[in-house]
Each structure stands twice: as C-alpha cells, then as structure tokens.
Assembly symmetry: C2
C-alpha cells in the first residue's frame, strides 16, 4: 500500500484523486487545498484540510498546484526529508524545496475536470533527485493503471513542449478547419473521421512516412488555389508556413 497526501484541487488533482480512490494499492491519507470549499464535498471519503500545519504523514506528497505555486507551497510544508513531487511538465525539479526529497510525477495528458479520463491512457513521466525514490513513483503510476517513463528534466521539458504542438496547436488547426467550413456553409462534422484517422495512422507509421498532400507532392497549382481560397490572412500565413515546413522536412524545393 502506497500512502499519499494530495495538495491542490484543480484538473489534475481531481483526476488523481479519483484514480487513487479507485486503486486498491493506494491510500489517500489527506487532501489539502488552500480553499476548503472545493474539496469539502469529499470529506466522507477522505480527510480534507486547508491547514498545512495539520498535514499527516505519508509516503508521497503530490503538489498538483499551478506551476507558479509549487515553489512557495513546498517551502511552507511543516516537515522535512519526505518525498515531495510536483506534477508539472515544465517546472524545474528544483522548484521543490531542498529540505525535502524531490521528485516529479508528470502525467502527459490533457486534463479537464469535466471530461472523464482513463489513466491507462495517461503516460506518467517520473523523475527523482535520488534514484532510490524512483521505484515508489513508478509503483504509484502502476497502481492507477498508467505506464511510467523515467525521464530527466531536459526530456520532460522537451515532451511538454512537444505536447503543445500535438495538443494545443493541433487543436488550433481543427479550429481553423472549423472556420473554413463554416465560412462556406459546409459541415465541420464531416471532417471528424479524417481527424481520427490522422491520429490513428501514427500508431503504425512515423509522421514522416504518414505525410501526404499537395505540399509533399509539390503540387503548385493546388497550393496556389488553396491560398486564393483562404479568406483570412492569418489562415494564409499558417498555410504558407506549414507548407514550407513540410517541404523542408521532405527536401522539396
């Protein structure tokens, strides 16, 4: 049994709470949030508190709070030499106060409180200053059905940055497609199977091998017509830049 104290009550903390609660191998000793109201409704399931000085003992303390709050909150912890991890992709391991055993437990997924999520689909990147603290982090990931990956800080930050491309930026391309279809009275919905297939293709092909389309074929006529078709300068700029990027990747000029 792994015992944890969870700190924070946002998107990540809420999903972790549910996953820990459902796991037979994890015991949530306590749930802290600076604002008790958010977690008060769980008080018959778990010991809740908004008082740092009343924190109980546990194997792992998880700071699932805003990036900017990690350093400060970790400084305020009223104990030392315990395993304290944050859940951020971009924040330094050293943001956790040096009087603790420091680590990171970064779930590489997109969380929102509303949407259900199965932790089988959440790879967890684990990092620990002391190597001997790694196994328990890996076991905690396993206990909620997640695959864990030992990474160093550079790797984690690269993954976080890459995640912005495949998640936020990809989603913005969906948005632009939505605008293009709406402007012409077409249904965005018709694109959904293609969106799924584009993501699925990556299971068996590298993005390099999966590429198709006018940029790869260097089909100047189609590219020209597409640019003419686009009404917004911003959409044109995105089309230009990503076409250039595809050509560069595939050595086309």
């Amino acid at each position: 049994m792994i015992t944890v104290v969870l700190l924070g009550a946002g998107n990540v903390a809420t999903h972790l709470f549910k996953a820990f609660l459902a796991s037979e191998e994890v015991e949530i000793k306590q749930w802290y949030n600076r604002n008790l109201k958010t977690i008060d409704k769980y008080k018959n399931k778990v010991n809740v508190t908004d008082n740092l000085s009343s924190l109980v003992e546990a194997d792992i303390y998880i700071l699932a709070v805003s990036d900017d709050a990690i350093e400060d909150l970790s400084k305020q912890l009223p104990f030392e030499n315990r395993l304290v991890v944050h859940t951020s992709g971009s924040t330094s391991l050293y943001a956790v106060d040096m009087k603790q055993k420091r680590g990171v437990f970064y779930p590489l997924q997109t969380f929102s409180k509303a949407a259900d999520l199965n932790f089988n689909d959440v790879p967890i990147c684990v990092e620990a200053l002391k190597k001997t603290d790694l196994p328990i982090l890996k076991n905690l990931a396993k206990a909620i059905g997640s695959k864990s990956h030992k990474v160093n800080s550079d790797q984690r930050q690269a993954l976080h940055l890459a995640a912005v491309f495949v998640n936020n930026f990809t989603n913005q391309l969906y948005r632009i497609a939505h605008e293009i279809t709406e402007e012409n009275g077409a249904e965005f919905n018709i694109l959904k199977p293609l969106i799924k297939e584009t993501a699925n293709k990556i299971e068996s092909l590298s993005p390099y091998m999966a590429q198709t389309g006018p940029a790869l074929r260097n089909d100047k006529k189609t590219i020209k017509r597409h640019l003419k078709q686009l009404e917004s300068d911003e959409h044109k700029a995105v089309y230009h830049l990503l076409t250039k990027s595809i050509k560069k990747t595939h050595g086309i000029r």
Copy 2:
C-alpha cells in the same frame, strides 16, 4: 444492384475496388487502367482492360485518376449521356466532359494502398449536375457502408482545403514534435496517447471549447521559455504563428 465501371488504379481506386467487391449491392462491370499491369492480377475477379473503346455499359463510371487526368480521360470516353463522376476534392465538377451526365463522388479520407481502411469511416461527398443523378450516388455510398453528404462545389472545395489543415498540417505538427523529442533524447511514443485524446476530444467538444495551454492562459513566462527551448528557427516560427492564432481566436492580446 448498382453496376459500375472503375477507371484508375491508384490509392482511391484500389480501396473502392475492394469495397465494391465486398458489397452485395454493387457489381463491378469492368476495371480500366491505362497501364494493365497494375490490375492484371485481379482479372479472375473482374473484367480488366486498358482499352477505352472496349468499355462496357454501367450505371456509373468512376474516374479515380489524378486530378490533372480527369478532364482528358473523360473526353476520351466512347459514349455519351452516361453518369460519369470523379473522386477529387478540389477539381471542378465541370472537368467531366459535358457530353456526359456529370457528378462527383469524393471520399473525404486519407488513402494509401498499404493501409487498410473501413468505408464506415469514410464520409463521401456527392455532387451531381442533374439532381436526379444524386440518389444513385447516395446509394452507392451506402452500399459500401459510407455516410454520404450532398454538397455543392464550394462546400466540397472548402472541405478539401480544411482537410489539408486537419490531416497534412496536423501530421506536420506531429513531425515537429518528433524532432523536438529526438533532439532531446526523449521518446516520441510517449506522446501518442495525447495525440489520440486530442483527436477524440473533438467528438464531444468544439475545437474552440477544447483549447487549453499557455497561449490560451496567456502564460507569457512559459511561452518565452518554450521559444528559447526551440532550436530551429522554423519551429520557432510555427510556435509563434499558432500561439498568435490561438490568442486571436480567443480574443487575447
């Protein structure tokens, strides 16, 4: 029973051939390709030919050939007033010679000969110059398990352009993510569940509602660090432009 003659033997034609063959409601009367070698191996399943003057009669002639070849090939057909459709997203309906009954049967998916594809996941955009030719195109789509959508030329061309964004450009973002992870010794594979979840989220949320991340939060510190982290000027440019695009969409400055 719908009878068809299929012309062309590339990605689209090959998948259509298999789907037609598997359907009880479709009979492939003949398969034409200018190069007989490509289709010769199917000659015990279907009447194959490389001779336009020997084309037999059918309800629908499907020109699944390169965009540039549609007009010329349709001119050479040795009959008139039959239903002739092309499968292109961007080519004009009028590319089909005027002596025929003209239409479009555009499968909005990404096809490659190697990858299997279920036509349940292929929306088909149908268009016909004469309204009375539409039902048979819709029935043909239905016969292979596809949903059909009646579109006009503007809508079809908007969908084709939007498809470049959600397919080719999205795939290039995956490629950039691949480069970022490799440069830092991280595993691209770890991103795959996020790639899938990003595509799945669109089932229940609009791209507008699904957006998250530093650009939406206007998290200047993270944006600045990400730009510094990126090694390639081209990646920086993509980061810049899509961050700007997200901000514009959500009215952030």
